[in-house]
């Protein structure tokens, strides 16, 4: 028994040492280096005009992307679970596609479709700018977060089946009523989980957005682009640390929220 105990302890030590080295020490170090000059410096750094407008742009993109992906995500989940149509497997594959793509590739494909020399380049010459403007950044963010809601809602829909909905329909409820009173309450935690994942990813998206945005401060610079610009262009290292730490704190909050939502949906 003593050898197996020793083996267990050494495996535990090895696993924890790996996590310490790969994750814990790095994230502690950035927190330390951010707050080393004091909280005031951190606060000043994340409330500069550029930082505030980056925050505003990020929130604006979230406000557009999240509702759209929530609505279409639920619609696609309904189509996949309840619909019977040819090519369903393909739809499944397409929904998963954004996860298998490099974010930079997503950005490039948007440039090739919506850019001045792309398929829809006519829009650009008409003065409707998509690439290097807000619409492109929104499209990029929708693309990379497309699967989250569908993939969280789909298994719940499958699990609950359609008996209750059919009963409601038999009793004379309209499709809208049935959805509001029966379906939506059943999927609400799955939907919430998917929405939180969407928010987290949308907030942190960098690769795809960086291809379709020039990242001008006060115009097309999101929080992640601000972090990049501060470090690489402005050589404002402490400013980059501060903005990165702000995003990290949000990520930790998201993680905590996900744990809570996950517990909710498991107990229901």
């Amino acid at each position: 028994m003593s050898t197996s105990t020793r083996a267990r302890i050494s495996l535990r030590t090895l696993a924890l040492a790996y996590l310490l080295l790969v994750v814990l020490i790095p994230i502690s170090m950035i927190a330390y280096r951010t707050f080393e000059p004091g909280f005031g410096a951190f606060w000043a750094s994340i409330t500069t005009p550029a930082a505030i407008s980056a925050l505003q742009l990020t929130v604006l993109i979230l406000a557009i992307v999240v509702p759209l992906n929530a609505v279409f995500g639920v619609a696609l989940a309904l189509a996949l679970v309840r619909g019977h149509f040819p090519g369903k497997r393909w739809v499944h594959a397409v929904i998963d596609l954004p996860f298998a793509l490099s974010p930079v590739v997503v950005g490039v494909s948007l440039v090739l479709l919506w850019g001045a020399h792309g398929w829809f380049g006519g829009l650009d010459s008409m003065g409707i700018h998509v690439i290097y403007a807000l619409p492109g950044m929104v499209l990029a963010t929708i693309f990379v977060t497309l699967p989250f809601v569908t993939r969280e809602v789909e298994p719940v829909l499958r699990e609950i089946g359609s008996e209750q909905e059919q009963a409601a329909a038999t009793l004379g409820a309209s499709a809208g009523q049935t959805f509001r009173k029966i379906t939506l309450p059943a999927i609400r935690w799955g939907l919430t989980y998917g929405v939180v994942l969407t928010v987290a990813r949308a907030l942190g998206e960098f690769g795809a957005v960086s291809v379709v945005s020039l990242g001008f401060a006060g115009q097309t610079q999101t929080l992640t682009l601000l972090v990049n610009t501060r470090y690489s262009a402005d050589h404002n290292i402490s400013g980059a640390y501060a903005a990165a730490t702000l995003l990290m704190l949000v990520a930790l909050a998201v993680l905590a929220l996900l744990t809570v939502v996950d517990r909710k949906r498991r107990t229901l």
Binding site: Y18, A75, G83, I95, A100, L101, P103, V227
Partner: protein
Amino acid sequence: MAATATSPAGAGTEPASDLRDTWSPEVPGSRTAAVGGNGSRGRGVGLGGLGMGLASLWLSLIVLLPLAALFFSSLGGGPAAFWAAITNRAALGALQVTLLVSVVVTLVNAVFGVLIAWVLVRDDFVGKAVVNALIDLPFALPTIVTSIVLLSLYGPASPIHLQLNATRPALVIALLFVTLPFVVRAVQPVLLELDREVEEAAASLGASSPTAFRRIILPTLAPAVLSGAGLAFTRAIGEYGSVVLFGGGIRHKTEVASQYIQKQIEADSPRDAAAVSVALLVIAFVVLATLRFVAARTGDSEQ
């Protein structure tokens, strides 16, 4: 997702969230089984024809059309131009660096992912729930933040006097960070379900722990490890944010494919960017398909 389906009540170590950035590491076949589960024609709330049309229009506009534009542009100059775009020295160098680093990262993940999953499922210690939650942090953290986090430790003015930025080890470190959850989260549910009696029987018959692990546990875990490793690999070859600042992007040394693609867009040669993008996509799909095939084979031979 897969994790939801396999969560024994009361287990304190179930994968808490699936903030996975890519395909869920479900064991091949489980999704198709689920699809067959609700075969009744009875409808609940469905989408009418209009809803279905809108949903497919949405999917086409957001995903399919951009990708179609990507493929057509990559071949816009003819096959020879496509081939030249992916085989010129710089592009090939970036692809080689990407593949080399990604293979290393995938192998490390396969080993340490299983180890961590094992410890989280079979071991018990104070703070295990926190460690379990920590696994998902790399998924929640914006990738550009990962670059900065690693620079604060290994960058210029490194507090531990270990400056690694703009080296290949830096690429490996960054990618190990972002791919940490894949194998762990793929293996954890399988380990939770693994029948302990079989192991105990093996032990009582005199099999030593390593032998039991190799002969009994490892074959059972293999499909999950392969699928998790496949996801880690796909993520690694496409990764951009975490390596863009920390990796330095030095041509032939630390410039990865996604960085090369980004530079082509900046240099206004979108066709070259498209060609290397397509190459990256093809590599990802070939690797995923191969791993799924192998996983399905090993899964079959188990039964």
